[in-house]
C-alpha cells in the first residue's frame, strides 16, 4: 500500500520533470544534465532496438519474463508493471513488477531467478533482481537493462591479477579498443577491491569476510535501510558436511550468498546447452570436483561472447575471473521466508569477468583460473577413499574460504569420530614463479574431528590468503595439496609447572629447570632442561620463559616482496612438539629485507638504524632459546627466575 502511494507520487514528479526537461531541451540546456531521460537513443552505447528504456515504462504495462523453472530451458512467466522507482540506487531506477505464474504465486520471490529477463511489448526492459524477505506477494524489482548494458560495455583488462582472461571476442575491433584501456583497468594489486588489508601473517578468513560484508553493506540497500534487497544468490553446495555448510553460511551470507545443501560435482552433461541463452540458468562455480559450490542465477542477455546476468552484483568485486557453468534447475523450493531454485552445473562454460552494481558480466570464451586441490587423509583404518580432489576458484577471499571449508568437510566426512584426534598436516603451496612452499599444521581435537573452522586458522589457509592478498604483485596459485595424518589419541602434555634446581648460579654456569608434565593418561613426566647462561649476565636476574614450540614465533623481517612473505610462512614457529625455554638477552636485534640480526652491541645497533631514512631495519629484543623436543604437544606456559652471582666465587 505504501509502495503504491509512493508510486503515484513519483509519477507526478516524473511528469513535472518531463515538463521541465522539454523546456530545457528547447533552450538547449539538456545535454549537461546527468539524468537518464533521453539517453538511450541511437548512438548511445547502451541503445538496443530490442530494449525499452525505463522512461517508457508505464504503470499497468504487461509483459513477460524468462526463467528456467525446471531443466535447462527457459519458460515464460507473466508480469505487470506496478511502477518505476526513480533513482533507487545511484543513477539506477527500479521497475516494480508483479509476476504471474502458478509456481510464482506460491514461491513469491525466488532466489536464483536473479537476472531473469523481463520484456514489455516484446522488448527487454531489465532483469528480475530485487525482492522482499517474507514477501506476501510475487512482487519483484527489475534492474533496468540500460544499467546492465553499461556494465557490459565496460572495458576489461587482458590480465587480472596475473591471469590472462583469454577473451576471444566476436568483434575484435571492440576488444582491441578495450585493450587500449587496459592501462587504466589493470590496477595495482594494492588497490583491487576486496583485498585483505591486515597483517598478512595473521590472515583471517573471518576478518576478511567481515571487511567484505561491511563494504557490501555500505554500497547496497540492506535491511533496516530499505525493504528491497537484492534477491539472494543461492549457493548450492554439494558433497560437504553440514558443519562446513554452516561455516560457509557464516562467511558468505553477509555477502549476499545463501549457502544451501544441494548436490552436484561440476561434471558435464552431454545434453546440456553449449552456450548460455537469455533466461537460462547460470552458475558461478566456486568449487567443483569431489565437492562443489555454485552460485545460481539467471542470464539476462547474451550479446556475442559476453552476457549480463543477475541484475545485481554477486559480491561486487569488480573485475574478476570466476569459472561459470550452464546450470540446470531441479525445482523451485517454496518458502515463506525466501524461495529458491535448487540446481546444479551441467556444463562449465566461460568465466565471470566483471561483478558490478547492476549485473555480473560473463564471457563465454574467458577461462578463469582455478586452484587444483588434493587432500590425502592417513591414519583412519579402513578408510574407503583417502584422497580428495577438487578445484577452487582463484580469488582473494573465495579461495582461502573454500579451501578451509572443503578441507574441514573432507576430514569430517572421512574421519568423523567422538574420539580425541591428534593431527599433523603437511601442505604444499605452488605459487607460479616462486616454486613450492611447504607448510606445517597440527592440532589436537578433543572429543571429535577438527572442524572446518580450525582449518580456517591453519597456516595453510593463512598462507594462501596472504599470498592472494599480497600488496606487491599478482600471485597465481598453481596447486595446493595437503597430506594429513590422524592419530586417535590426545597427544597433549600439560605443563604442571617449572622449578629451577639452583635459584642462584655462578656466572657462566648453566641454569637447570625441571619441567613437570601431566600427560592425558599415565604417570607424571619430568624433564630437566639445561639453559646456558652467558657469563656477561653476571649480577643479573634472568627470567626464563617456558612456552610450547608452536607458540614461540621466530624473528622474521617484515616482508618486502612476495618471496619474502612466502619464506616467512615456511617456518614461522619452533617445532610444534617442543618446549622452548628462553630469556631476553638484553641486546637489541634488527630485521631487514629477509635478514635477521640479533644480539647486537649497542654501537652496531645504532649504526644499523639510520636517522635520515625510514627505510630501515625494524628493531626487536633478542632472545636466547633452548628448544627441547618432546613427544607430544605441550599445553601451558610458565616463568621462573634465576639469579646469576655478580662475581666468580
Amino acid at each position: 500500500m505504501v509502495a503504491r502511494k509512493g508510486a503515484v507520487r513519483y509519477t507526478a514528479v516524473t511528469v513535472r520533470l518531463t515538463t521541465l526537461l522539454v523546456a530545457a531541451a528547447a533552450l538547449g540546456l539538456l545535454a549537461p544534465l546527468p539524468l537518464g531521460l533521453g539517453r538511450a537513443e541511437a548512438g548511445d552505447a547502451t541503445f538496443r532496438p530490442d530494449t525499452l528504456p525505463v522512461e517508457k515504462i508505464r504503470r499497468g504495462m504487461k509483459g513477460y519474463g524468462l526463467t528456467v523453472f525446471e531443466g535447462t530451458k527457459p519458460e515464460r512467466f507473466d508480469v505487470e508493471v506496478i511502477d518505476v522507482l526513480p533513482n533507487f540506487r545511484p543513477r539506477q531506477d527500479l521497475i516494480l513488477i508483479k509476476t504471474k505464474h502458478p509456481r510464482l504465486d506460491v514461491a513469491k520471490v525466488v532466489a536464483g531467478m536473479s537476472g531473469s529477463p523481463i520484456y514489455i511489448d516484446g522488448k527487454m526492459i531489465g532483469a528480475y533482481a530485487y525482492g522482499w524477505t517474507f514477501g506476501a506477494e510475487p512482487v519483484a524489482g527489475v534492474t533496468p537493462i540500460r544499467n546492465m548494458l553499461e556494465d557490459l560495455a565496460r572495458p576489461l583488462p587482458e590480465v587480472i591479477d596475473g591471469w590472462p582472461l583469454r577473451i576471444l571476442p566476436k568483434n575484435g575491433a571492440s576488444i582491441a579498443a578495450s585493450s587500449r584501456h587496459n592501462g587504466h583497468l589493470g590496477q595495482a594489486p594494492a588497490s583491487r577491491p576486496g583485498r585483505y588489508e591486515g597483517d598478512l601473517r595473521q590472515y583471517d578468513v573471518r576478518e576478511h569476510a567481515e571487511r567484505l560484508a561491511e563494504r557490501r553493506a555500505a554500497s547496497l540497500p540492506g535491511a533496516g535501510q530499505s525493504p528491497l534487497v537484492p534477491v539472494a544468490t543461492p549457493l548450492l553446495i554439494g558433497g560437504m558436511t553440514p558443519g562446513a555448510v554452516a561455516l560457509a553460511g557464516d562467511l558468505l551470507r553477509p555477502l549476499g550468498l545463501e549457502p544451501l545443501q544441494a548436490g552436484g560435482g561440476g561434471g558435464t552433461d552431454p545434453s546440456a546447452p553449449q552456450r548460455f541463452e537469455d533466461g537460462g540458468a547460470i552458475g558461478v562455480q566456486l568449487i567443483r570436483g569431489d565437492m562443489s559450490a555454485m552460485g545460481l542465477g539467471t542470464v539476462t542477455r547474451v550479446e556475442g561472447d559476453r552476457l549480463v546476468a543477475f541484475g545485481h552484483p554477486m559480491m561486487e568485486s569488480g573485475v574478476t575471473a570466476l569459472p561459470t557453468a550452464v546450470g540446470k534447475v531441479l525445482w523451485f523450493l517454496a518458502s515463506d521466508m525466501r524461495s529458491f531454485k535448487i540446481g546444479m552445473p551441467v556444463r562449465p562454460v566461460g568465466a565471470l569477468v566483471n561483478d558490478r552494481m547492476a549485473s555480473i558480466v560473463v564471457s563465454h570464451s574467458a577461462q578463469a583460473p582455478i586452484i587444483p586441490v588434493t587432500m590425502r587423509i592417513r591414519g583412519v583404518p579402513g578408510l574407503p577413499n583417502a584422497n580428495w580432489k577438487f578445484e577452487v576458484a582463484h580469488e582473494k577471499f573465495m579461495s582461502p574460504s573454500f579451501v578451509s571449508i572443503a578441507l574441514g568437510s573432507a576430514l569430517q566426512a572421512m574421519a568423523s569420530e567422538r574420539q580425541d584426534i591428534s593431527w599433523t598436516a603437511t601442505s604444499t603451496l605452488a605459487v607460479r614463479g616462486h616454486g613450492r612452499i611447504r607448510l606445517e599444521d597440527y592440532g589436537v581435537a578433543i572429543g571429535g574431528t577438527p572442524s572446518a573452522e580450525e582449518f580456517s586458522r591453519s597456516n595453510l589457509v593463512r598462507a594462501l590468503g596472504a599470498v592472494l592478498n599480497n600488496p606487491w604483485q599478482p600471485a597465481l596459485i598453481e596447486s595446493l595439496s595437503m597430506d594429513i595424518e590422524l592419530r586417535y589419541a590426545r597427544e597433549i602434555l600439560r605443563l604442571r609447572g617449572a622449578e629451577v634446581l639452583k635459584p642462584e648460579i655462578d656466572a657462566g654456569e648453566p641454569a637447570e629447570v625441571r619441567l613437570t608434565f601431566e600427560p592425558y593418561s599415565g604417570p607424571v613426566v619430568t624433564r630437566v632442561v639445561t639453559v646456558p647462561i652467558p657469563a656477561h649476565l653476571a649480577g643479573e636476574t634472568v627470567q626464563l620463559e617456558i612456552v610450547p614450540g608452536y607458540l614461540e614465533e621466530r624473528e622474521t623481517a617484515p616482508p618486502d616482496n612476495l618471496a619474502a612473505l612466502l619464506a616467512n610462512f615456511e617456518n614461522p614457529v619452533f617445532p610444534p612438539k617442543s618446549v622452548v625455554v628462553s630469556y631476553a638477552t638484553g641486546s637489541p636485534g634488527v630485521s631487514f629485507r629477509g635478514r635477521v640480526a640479533s644480539n647486537l652491541p649497542p654501537g652496531a645497533f645504532d649504526s644499523l638504524r639510520p636517522t635520515t631514512s625510514s627505510i630501515a631495519p625494524a628493531p626487536f629484543q633478542s632472545k636466547s632459546r633452548v628448544v627441547v623436543p618432546i613427544p607430544e604437544f605441550m599445553v601451558g606456559r610458565d616463568r621462573v627466575t634465576v639469579k646469576v652471582r655478580p662475581v666468580l666465587r
Binding site: 591486515g198 597483517d199 598478512l200 601473517r201 595473521q202 596472504a466 599480497n470 600488496p471 606487491w472 657462566g508 652467558p534 657469563a535 656477561h536 614465533e553 621466530r554 624473528e555 622474521t556 623481517a557 617484515p558 616482508p559 618486502d560 612473505l565 616467512n568 638477552t585 641486546s587 637489541p588 636485534g589 634488527v590 630485521s591 631487514f592 629485507r593 635478514r595 635477521v596 640480526a597 640479533s598 644480539n599 647486537l600 652491541p601 649497542p602 654501537g603 652496531a604 645497533f605 645504532d606 649504526s607 644499523l608 638504524r609 639510520p610 636517522t611 635520515t612 631514512s613 625510514s614 627505510i615 630501515a616 631495519p617 625494524a618 628493531p619 626487536f620 629484543q621
Partner: protein
C-alpha cells in the same frame, strides 16, 4: 697526566657581559666572545680544523661521493687499481668507487659487509653479519671462504702478514678465529664477553682484540694465551690499531641505545614492510687511548657528548678518530692537543683511511665517501654556530686575532636556523671593523682562509647591544623561616608548633627578557594605611630575587610588601624601565597573648585570654613542675577569636593539697604566655 677535553659546551654564547667598570662607555653592551675550542665549533667546518685550544686553521679538504646503493659504510679497502672497495649496510653490498663513480660489485647476502681485508697478496676477505659468514671477493664474485662456527657477526678482520693468517673478531660468543689460507678456521681466543669487536696485529705478531659488552682490551701472545691489557670500564672497545713503532691505539665507548627503540622492540609482525620511524641516535661517550709497547696507557682524548666509531693512523703516525653522533674527525698528538680536522654532514664517520694515496673519510647515515683532497685550499671556510643575543640586537665592531690575512663576513637573522629571511653574507672584512649585518637576534660569522692557507684564527669577539625590554615582577611571596607545612591543620590539642621566627623570607619572580642586571627595592605598609616604608637601608643595593626581612621591631598586624624592579644597573637613566608588584597580606605577630582575670572559683578556672592580631590557638594547664600540659577549652567550645573566655572545671586536674598551677596560652603564631597561681 690525563687531559679531559670537554668539546661541547651546551651553554649558549650569550656570554661575557662586560664589567661595571665599562658601564660608562658602553652601558648594556655585550660581546660574543669566541676563545676556546668549544666556542669555534658547532657551526660548519669546510676544510678547516679547530683544535682544543681554540685555534682555527685550514684543515682537511674533503670531496663528496654519495653512495645511493647503501645507507651505511662499514669498511673501506683501497684497491691496487686505485679504486676503493666499500663494505656496506643494510643490504650487505660491496661497492667499488672509481673516480667518483660507484658500482655494486658484490652481494654478500648479509645485512652488513662489516669488514674487508686484503690477505695473501691479493685475496680479499669480507666479514658479514648476521650469519657470520667469512667470504672471499674474487673479481666480482662473492664466495664462501671459511666457516666460523658459532659466529653470527664478524666485526673485524686483521691480516698477520708474518704468520700468513687472518684473524676474525666475532660475536655473539666472543670468539677470535684464526683462519689459514686454505680456509681452516680455529678458535684462537674465547672471551667471556659476548662480542669481540676489534682486532689488530702488532709487527711482532702480538694480537690485540677489543670486547663488548665489557670494554676490555686483550693482548694475545698465543692461542688462548690472553691477558687483559686494559679494562676501560665502558661498554665496548670499538677499534684497535697498532702503529709501526708498536704503539697500540684503541677507542672505547660507553653507549646507551635509544631507550624508545628498546621499548618498541618486539618481533616484527607479518605486515608488509613499511616506513620505520627513524630511531633517536644513541647517546654515548668515547675515549681514545695509546698504549706503549710495554702496555702503559695514555688517555689522549675524551668525549662526553659523542662516541667514537672509527680509528685509523695517518702517515704521520697520529691517530684519527671518527665520531658516531656529530660526524666529526679528530686527531690528537702526544701532547694531547686535539684537533677537529673534519666535520661532515653525515651522522657518523664509520670508517677512515688516513694513510697512503687514497685517504678517505667514510660517512654513514647517509652513506657518503669523502676523499681527502689535501689540507686547506681556496674553499677552506669556517662558519660559526649561530650566536644568539637573546632578543633583537644591534651589532658593533668585530675583532679577531689571526696570524695571517683572513676574510671575515657576517650575516644575521631572526630565526634560529639560517634561512632565506636572513641577511646575505656581508662584504668580507680583512681588518677589524663594524659589523654590517642588520640588527637581529642571531648572528653568524664566517672566516675564509683563501688568502693565506697557513693563517690561524684564535680569538674573535663581536660587540652588540640589545633592545631594552622591561623586566616584570610576576610573583611575590613571603614565609617565615620556620613555618608549619602548608598542608598542616592548626590544632588546639595536637602537638605544639615551633616558636615563631620574626625573620620573613621574601621571594619574587621576574620575567627578564633581555637578561639585564636588575636592582630591587622593597617597601611595606600596614593594611589600611597608604604610607609605604622602605625595608632596605638607604644605600643598600639588592640584586637577588629574595630577601630576609627581620620583623621583630614591627608592631604586630597585617602588612603588604611592594617589590620594585628596575634595570638601572644596565641602562642609561633615560632608558631605565621599572616594574612593581604588591604582595598579599602578611600577618606579623611577634607578641604573645595576655591572660587576664585569672582566678579559681571553687575548682573552676576562670580567665580571659586576649591577642592583638590573630585568634587564640590553644590554652593549657599544668601543675607546676610537671611537664604534662592538659588542654582546656574556652567557654564557647572553640578557639576562633582574639578574645576567649575560660570557665573550666579542673576537678580532675587539681591535686588534693597545695600546688602551683600554671596556665599557658598560645596565639595563632605560636607566641605563648604562662601565668601561675597558687592552689592552697
Amino acid at each position: 697526566m690525563k687531559r679531559h677535553i670537554r668539546w661541547f659546551c651546551a651553554v649558549p654564547l650569550l656570554a661575557a657581559v662586560l664589567g661595571v667598570s665599562l658601564a660608562a662607555q658602553a652601558v648594556g653592551t655585550r660581546r660574543f666572545v669566541l676563545h676556546r675550542g668549544d666556542d669555534f665549533k658547532g657551526g660548519d667546518l669546510e676544510g678547516v680544523a679547530v683544535d682544543s685550544a681554540g685555534a682555527v686553521r685550514a684543515g682537511l679538504s674533503l670531496g663528496s661521493v654519495p653512495i645511493a646503493e647503501a645507507g651505511s659504510i662499514w669498511a673501506a679497502l683501497p684497491m691496487r687499481d686505485g679504486s676503493l672497495l666499500l663494505g656496506t649496510g643494510n643490504e650487505g653490498k660491496l661497492i667499488r668507487v672509481t673516480d667518483g663513480a660507484t658500482r655494486v660489485v658484490g652481494e654478500t647476502g648479509g645485512l652488513v659487509a662489516t669488514s674487508l681485508v686484503e690477505a695473501w697478496n691479493g685475496t680479499i676477505l669480507v666479514g658479514t653479519l648476521p650469519e657470520g659468514k667469512l667470504l672471499r671477493f674474487d673479481g666480482g664474485k662473492v664466495v664462501p671462504f671459511a666457516t666460523l662456527k658459532g659466529a653470527q657477526h664478524v666485526w673485524q678482520l686483521a691480516y698477520d702478514a708474518r704468520a700468513g693468517v687472518v684473524y676474525a673478531a666475532t660475536g655473539p660468543e666472543g670468539k677470535l678465529f684464526r683462519i689459514s689460507r686454505d680456509g681452516d678456521a680455529q678458535v684462537y681466543f674465547d672471551a667471556e664477553e659476548q662480542q669481540l669487536l676489534s682486532v689488530a696485529v702488532a709487527p711482532n705478531g702480538t694480537v690485540y682484540t677489543g670486547a663488548s659488552d665489557k670494554a676490555k682490551l686483550y693482548k694475545l701472545t698465543g692461542p688462548g694465551r690472553a691477558s687483559v691489557l686494559y679494562d676501560f670500564e665502558r661498554t665496548e672497545v670499538r677499534a684497535v690499531v697498532v702503529g709501526s713503532d708498536g704503539d697500540v691505539f684503541a677507542i672505547a665507548n660507553e653507549i646507551k641505545p635509544d631507550p624508545n627503540a628498546q621499548k618498541q622492540s618486539k618481533i616484527p609482525e607479518g605486515a608488509p614492510a613499511g616506513p620505520v620511524a627513524p630511531g633517536a641516535p644513541a647517546k654515548g661517550k668515547g675515549t681514545l687511548y695509546r698504549f706503549s709497547p710495554d702496555g702503559r696507557p695514555d688517555r689522549l682524548l675524551e668525549e662526553d657528548d659523542d662516541y667514537f666509531t672509527s680509528l685509523a693512523l695517518g702517515d704521520d703516525g697520529l691517530p684519527y678518530v671518527g665520531t658516531g653522533t656529530e660526524g666529526r674527525v679528530y686527531t690528537v698528538d702526544r701532547s694531547h692537543n686535539a684537533v677537529l680536522v673534519a666535520d661532515v654532514a653525515e651522522r657518523q664517520v664509520t670508517a677512515l683511511v688516513m694513510r697512503g694515496k687514497q685517504r678517505v673519510v667514510l660517512g654513514s647515515d647517509p652513506a657518503v665517501v669523502h676523499p681527502v683532497r689535501g689540507v686547506g685550499g681556496p674553499n677552506a671556510v669556517w662558519t660559526s654556530k649561530v650566536l644568539d643575543a637573546g632578543i633583537r640586537a644591534r651589532f658593533g665592531r668585530i675583532e679577531w686575532e689571526a696570524t695571517g690575512p683572513i676574510e671575515i663576513s657576517t650575516r644575521s637573522g631572526n630565526t634560529k636556523e639560517p634561512d632565506d629571511s636572513w641577511s646575505p653574507w656581508s662584504r668580507p672584512l680583512t681588518a677589524h671593523g663594524q659589523v654590517e649585518s642588520p640588527p637581529a637576534r642571531y648572528l653568524q660569522v664566517r672566516a675564509r682562509f683563501s688568502r693565506d692557507p697557513r693563517a690561524v684564527l684564535t680569538d674573535l669577539n663581536v660587540a652588540f647591544v640589545t633592545d631594552n625590554l622591561r623586566a616584570v615582577v610576576t610573583e611575590v611571596s613571603a614565609k617565615a623561616r620556620e613555618e608549619r607545612p602548608d598542608d598542616a591543620v592548626t590544632s588546639s590539642g595536637g602537638p605544639i608548633g615551633k616558636r615563631p621566627d620574626s625573620n620573613l623570607e621574601l621571594r619574587w619572580k621576574v620575567d627578564n627578557p633581555d637578561k639585564d642586571e636588575l636592582r630591587y627595592r622593597l617597601r611595606y605598609r600596614m593594611v589600611g594605611s597608604n604610607t609605604w616604608y622602605d625595608i632596605l637601608k638607604p644605600n643598600e643595593k639588592l640584586t637577588k630575587e629574595s630577601y630576609t626581612w627581620d620583623t621583630s621591631d614591627l608592631p604586630e598586624g597585617r602588612y603588604r610588601v611592594l617589590v620594585i624592579a628596575t634595570d638601572e644597573l644596565a641602562n642609561p637613566p633615560e632608558l631605565v624601565t621599572r616594574s612593581e608588584l604588591e604582595s598579599g597580606v602578611l600577618v606579623i605577630d611577634n607578641t604573645p597573648p595576655v591572660i587576664d582575670g585569672l582566678k579559681l572559683v571553687g575548682k573552676r578556672l576562670q580567665a580571659v585570654v586576649l591577642d592583638g592580631v590573630g585568634p587564640i590557638q590553644r590554652v593549657e594547664v599544668s601543675v607546676a613542675g610537671s611537664d604534662e600540659w592538659r588542654p582546656i577549652a574556652p567557654s564557647d567550645g572553640i578557639f576562633d577569636e582574639q578574645r576567649e573566655e575560660l570557665d573550666v572545671d579542673l576537678s580532675s586536674v587539681l591535686p588534693a593539697g597545695p600546688a602551683l598551677i600554671s596556665v599557658r596560652a598560645y596565639d595563632s603564631a605560636n607566641n605563648f604566655v604562662i601565668k601561675n597561681f597558687a592552689l592552697k
